[in-house]
Symmetry: D2
C-alpha cells in the first residue's frame, strides 16, 4: 500500500516535514511511514513549489530509507507546498517514471490505490486520453492514466468535475469488461495554489484519508509546543494515513468525498463519479 | 547510435563473445563497442537461449562499462544464441524497460535506429497494435512499438512479412502526419532457432549492417588461429558495425535487405515495406 | 537482520532454490525470506560455482523483490554450490561493494550479524589485515573486515582456526576499547568444495543457525514428495533462519559451534575464539 | 579524465551554472562538459552552500546526462558557492561514496587526477590518517584519501600547508615504493567562505587549471551581454578545463600553484609539497 501527504502553508524545510517528527507535531508519526519503516520500498517521490513556474520533482527507486541524496535535498529545500509519496508497486515495473507524484505543467498528481482490472482495460482508457497528450505518458501505471484522463476532462479548469469524469469513465469501462469494483483509492492534485484530495472506491470501502484540523486551535490547546507555533495559521496537511499522537489533530475525510484546501480554508463536498453517458 | 550483435552457432561463453576480442577472432573489435568505449552509455541488454522455453534477459541502465554483475554473468553463462545491445537514448527515459533486447514469449527483438516523428505518431501506431497485446508494452520506445506491430502482423508465423507490414504501417502513418523519412535502422529478431535481420530506411540511407562469412572458409585461410577453430562451422554473427580486422570476415548487408540465418545457411532477400492499403 | 543460505549438493537451478518453495521442499519457506518479504531490503547477493576457477557473483542494491535481472539469472543458472544473502544495512552505505557474499579468489564469505563498536575499532582491525591484502577491501562493512582478518590468519589453509583467530582479535581489540560484547552473528564460507558455518556471539546469545538433516532419511519419510527425490543424497543446506514446514527437516546448530559440510557428511564442533595473546 | 568547477559570487541557480551556457557567459562551454558530452560517465556530484551549517551534497552514479532528478534539483536550488564534478573512474568502483565532492563538516573537496601506485601505497597512506578520522572514510578512492590526509595535517586551519603536507607524504611514501611520479592533478577545497585550488604533479606536467578574470572588467568590455551583468563583481570560477569563447575570460593557473579566492580577491602563490622529514 502506498502512502502520501500533501502539505500547504508557511514554507517548511522538507526535512522537517518528512524526517523530523520530533520537531514538527503535525507530521510526527509520519516518520514511521516516510522515514524508517521499510514496508513501502518500491519508490519514493516528492514534488514541491518554489520560484519556478513548474514544481520541482525528485523521484527515486532506491528504497526510501537508504537514499542519501534525498536526505540532503530535504535538508536544503523549503517550500510552502509539498507532495510526498512512497510507493508499493503492484505489478508495474519499479522505475522512476512509475513513481508519484506525476507532473504535467504546473500540476502534481498522486494516488494511493489501484484500478482493478487495469491490464484488461488499459487500452480502452488510453484511447480516451486526449490524443495530443497520449505520447506524454511516460510510465505504465494506472495512477498516471488517471491523471491523463483527468487532464483530458478538464483538470486545469475544474478539478472535481474532471476527476469525477475520469473515475466515471473507469467505472463505465469496467462494466463493459465485467469488472465489479474497479476504482479504489485516494488521490491528490494541486496547481500550486489549491490542493484537491479525493477519497473514493466503487465498492464504498475506500482507503483512509485524513486532514489536519485548524492549526490556530491546536496552538491554543498546546501553548507549550514550539513546533506548532512556527507554522502559519493556514498550514494544512492531507494524509493517507492517520498520523500523529496529538488528540484532535486529525479528522477523517468521509467516504466518497472531495477535500479542497485553499489557504487555511477547507471545504469538504461529496464526490460522485460522472458516467460518460450522463455527460452527453 | 545504438549497436548490436546477434550470434548463433556452437555455445560460446558470453564473456568471449562480448569482452574478449583477443580470444575470439570474430568479435575481436567488438570490444571497442561493447566493452570499453563509453560512447553508448544509456543502457545495455543481452538475451540468450538456454534450457528454458523462454530466453534469458539481462538489462541494465548502468553504463555498459561499469556494471560488474554483467561481467560476472557473462563469465558464467554460455549459449548457442545471443543477442546483445548497447543503447544510446534518443529522448526516451533511461530505464530498464526501454533497453533492448525486448522479449515476448520465445522471441527477442532489437533495433538500432529510430522512427522519426514518433512522438506525433505514437498514438496512431499504438492503436494498430493487437488489443490483446497493448497492455504488455512496458516501455516508451519506438523500438518496442515496432516489435508489437510486428507481432500484431504475424511475426511468429512469417517474420519478413510481419516486419514489412509493421514498417509499411509506420510509413503510411508518417505520410498522414507529413513526416518524410520516418523509418531508419537495422532490426534483428529470433525465435531461438532462426535469426532474421533487416536493414532499411525510408530515405534509402540505412545504418550499416554486416554479417560474418563462412567460418569454415576462414578456418582454411587462418589455420593458425585457435579461436576460429573452436567455433562450429555453422557459427554466424550479424552486427550493426563493421567489426574485426580479419580481411574477408565481414560482408555488408545491402540496403533494403533481410538476412535470414538458419544454422550455417544464410539467405539474403530484398526487403520492401508492405503498405496497409496494398494488403487490404 | 540479514538472512542467508548455503546450498551444496546436486546442481539446482537457482530459481528453484531461491524462488520456488513449492517445487523444492528444503527451501520451501525460504521464499518468504528471499523472495517476497520486503523486510530486508538493503541489498541482495548470490555467489555460485560453475565451470570457472572463481565463483560467479551477482550483487544488487535494488530491493531483492524487484530486481528483474536477478529473477532471470536465477532461472537460467544452475549450480551445485550456492551462497545467497539478503542484507539489512546497519549504518554502512547501501552499495554493491557492501553486499554479501564477499569473494576473494575461490572463496566466498557471508555474515548475519555485526561487530559492536566497529566504528571505534575499525582502524585497529584494518591494521591487523595482511598488508598485501589491505587495498583489496572494497567496501566499508564489519563483515568484509572479518573475511580479510580470516584470510590473514590462514582461511585458505584451516578455516576454523583462521575464523577463531579473527574473532579472537575482534574480542581482544574490543577489550581495549571497553566494548563488552563485540561479536554477534553467524558466518559462512566456502572454497567451492567444503562449506564451513559458524554460530557465535561474545555474549553467548547468538543469532540462529540451522542445517538440513539427511536427505535420504527425508526421502524415506516422504515417499510421495517428488521434489525431494530429485535432490542427491548429499544435498545439504545451512540457513540463518528456521525454514520449511517439514517436521525433522531442520536441526539447530548449537551456540558457539562450527558446522562443516563436506559432501553429504556434516561435522559439528565447538567454536571458541583464539585470542592473539594465546597464539603467540 | 574528471572535470570540475568551483563557483563563488552572487547566488546563481545551479541550472544556470551547469546547464545553460547561453544564459551564463562564464560557463557557456561548460555545458559541453557537464551537460551533454557523455565522455565522463562514471558519476556526478555537486555540493553547495545554503542556509545550513553544512553544505548540501548530491552525488549520483547515473550518467550525468541522464539523471532527471539532478536536472530538477539544479532548476530549483540557487547558491552563492557551488562545487561540481564529473567523474571518470580509474579502477575504483562506480558508487556514490566514490563520487566527488567529498564532504567533511563544512568542507568540500574534489580532485581531477590520480595517485599513481595508489593500490600499493594505500595502507601506508591510510595509517597516516588521523586515527579518529580513519573510520569516516566511506569510499575507496585516492581522492578521498587526499582529503583525509589534508584534514589530518590541518586543513581546517591552514589549507595550503595541509595540502602541501598531504602531497609531501604521498611523494615520500611513493619514494619508498619506487614510484616515480605519484601525484597528478588539480584539487579544490572550500569551507564555504574561501576557495583554495591547487595545480600540481610530481612530474611537473599537471592537468590544466583555469580561473575566471575580473567580472567587472568583462562587463565593461561586453556592455551588451545581459548575463554578465547579473553576476556580482566578486563572482569567480575556477575550472579544470579552459571554458568559454569570450576572449580574456580565462587565465591559466601556472604549474605548481595555489589559487585562493576570497570574495572578489584572487591570490596565486607557488605550491610546493612539504615532505614529512622536513616538517619534523
Amino acid at each position: 500500500m502506498c502512502r502520501w501527504l500533501a502539505y500547504s502553508g508557511s514554507p517548511v524545510l522538507m526535512e522537517d516535514l518528512l524526517y523530523k517528527p520530533e520537531h514538527s507535531l503535525i507530521v510526527q508519526s509520519m516518520s514511521s511511514t516516510m522515514g524508517a519503516e521499510p514496508t513501502n520500498g518500491d519508490g519514493f517521490g516528492v514534488g514541491w513549489y518554489g520560484d519556478r513556474d513548474t514544481p520541482g520533482l525528485f523521484r527515486s527507486i532506491e528504497p526510501a530509507w537508504s537514499d542519501r541524496n534525498r536526505h540532503d535535498m530535504a535538508a536544503h529545500i523549503s517550500s510552502p507546498r509539498v507532495f510526498a509519496h512512497i510507493r508499493a508497486a503492484i505489478g508495474s515495473p519499479v522505475q522512476q517514471t512509475n513513481c508519484h507524484p506525476f507532473r504535467q505543467g504546473r500540476w502534481l498528481w498522486m494516488h494511493n490505490g489501484f484500478i482493478d482490472g487495469f491490464h484488461a482495460m488499459k487500452r480502452d482508457l488510453a484511447l480516451a486520453v486526449d490524443p495530443d497528450r497520449y505520447a506524454d505518458m511516460e510510465g505504465t501505471t494506472d495512477s498516471e492514466m488517471l491523471l491523463f484522463l483527468a487532464l483530458t476532462f478538464g483538470l486545469e479548469d475544474d478539478p472535481p468535475t474532471a476527476v469525477a469524469r475520469a473515475v466515471g469513465l473507469v467505472e463505465e469501462t469496467a462494466q463493459r469488461h465485467g469488472i465489479r469494483f474497479p476504482m479504489q483509492g485516494t488521490m491528490a492534485t494541486t496547481d500550486g495554489a489549491t490542493t484537491w484530495a479525493f477519497r473514493y472506491s466503487t465498492e464504498g470501502k475506500s482507503r483512509s484519508l485524513f486532514h489536519s484540523t485548524d492549526v490556530s486551535m491546536l496552538k491554543q490547546q498546546y501553548p507549550d509546543n514550539p513546533e506548532l507555533h512556527e507554522l502559519s495559521d493556514d498550514a494544512r496537511m492531507v494524509v493517507s494515513e492517520p498520523l500523529g499522537e496529538l488528540r484532535g489533530a486529525w479528522r477523517e475525510v468521509p467516504e466518497a468525498s472531495c477535500v479542497v484546501i485553499r489557504g487555511g480554508e477547507e471545504t469538504i463536498t461529496p464526490f460522485k463519479p460522472l458516467m460518460p453517458a450522463r455527460i452527453g
